[in-house]
Symmetry: C2
Subunit: 228 residues, 2 copies
């Protein structure tokens, strides 16, 4: 039997990095706020998926106003985030009752494809974990104590979201204390000894953190191949 | 005294990856072929820089026709490339008489900024080597024998071009036999025991290898902040 599905969409941006008063998750691309695009794509993947949006407490009223303004009626639950991403995910998990499969997704990745989401959930159903990755197309160097060195880029992958896990496993992983090296949910789960299963992401699935990314996302949303 | 400056612009694309008959370096963005944008930006950096374009032998006539068609009159020398990038750079270096400082740049990186080029040449004048790098904005994982593991992305940098070196040093490095792990010029130079100096690149300086990149480049060239 297929497990129930939940996605925690985590948006913690305060708008500092892009030098704007409006946190980046609320900036408009293609006529509506980034977060609405993100919620929409999960709903397109599966109309029955449970959508939980984790937002800084101070932004919740603003978000509700935005939903009214844009006549955005897609049903979703709102949870107040914490001091950092780890705490925000933890708060989101407390709202997950029927665990099943739980995805954690960056609110500022509106360009994830339905196919990527499907690959992640399908693989997590089979393996318990699944995260989307893509090849590095540029060389990378590793910083060392007194300089840097070439490394073989073919042995590395860029990590995206949604990261999908068995819900009980994810909850257990988030019972750990918060260490500074938890850069994503996979690293949190990995720290309790679980192996992470990799699936193919989609290159357009960029994380919007700068004005440069915003311009790219705008273009990509217009790009006919995406059919969004 | 300031050293003489040369840039080898290396374009080896055969057009296979983008499923087009025209090699990617000749595709038009913003009204003219990518390679012309690339040549132009180096000339804007320093009108006295020597421009050497390394092209597959079979593409040279086509390029000359393109230059006529676009009334592209910027003076540059054309050198026939080799079987792989290593051999192409080596061929280009044979055309460098007065070594001074030599930059090697990917033909399909038209969005390098004049400031990035200046930082590379200035640092190479002082240190003998300089390559532009930018932060990784996404998590990366390292593939291991039987899976993969989280790594700290803050200890890695994405590598761009132009990579600038003392010309004699670069020629010496290219006397080595070609090993498969030479992913960029810095790794070739590093293999003869030279330390590589890192400077800040610019994020827009993407390598155009897919249709996705081409769309981004088109947008970025229109982006007023770039003033191109």
């Amino acid at each position: 039997m297929t497990k129930s599905k939940t996605v925690l969409i985590v948006a913690g941006g305060k708008g500092e990095r892009m030098n704007t008063d409006i946190p980046k998750q609320f900036l408009e691309i293609h006529g509506k706020p980034i977060l609405m695009h993100t919620l929409d794509v999960f709903q397109r993947y599966d109309a029955a998926i449970r959508l939980i949006l984790v937002l800084p407490a101070v932004q919740i009223d603003f978000w509700k106003e935005l939903c009214k303004k844009h006549a955005f009626t897609l049903s979703h639950q709102i949870v107040a985030g914490g001091q950092n991403r780890f705490q925000s995910v933890k708060n989101g998990l407390e709202a997950v009752i029927n665990s099943g499969l739980v995805a954690v997704h960056d609110g500022v990745r509106p360009l994830v494809s339905v196919e990527t989401i499907a690959r992640c959930f399908d693989a997590a159903e089979m393996h318990g974990t699944a995260i989307p990755v893509v090849d590095l197309v540029e060389s990378i160097r590793q910083l060392t104590g007194n300089g840097s060195q070439s490394v073989d880029r073919n042995t590395f992958k860029l990590v995206q979201t949604p990261q999908v896990f068995d819900g009980e496993m994810l909850k257990k992983a988030y019972e750990q204390d918060f260490p500074p090296l938890f850069t994503d949910d996979a690293s949190v789960v990995e720290a309790i000894g679980i192996k992470i299963h990799l699936v193919e992401g989609n290159r357009e699935n960029i994380k919007i953190t700068t004005k440069f990314d915003l311009e790219m996302a705008e273009t990509l949303l217009k790009f006919e191949d995406l059919k969004i």
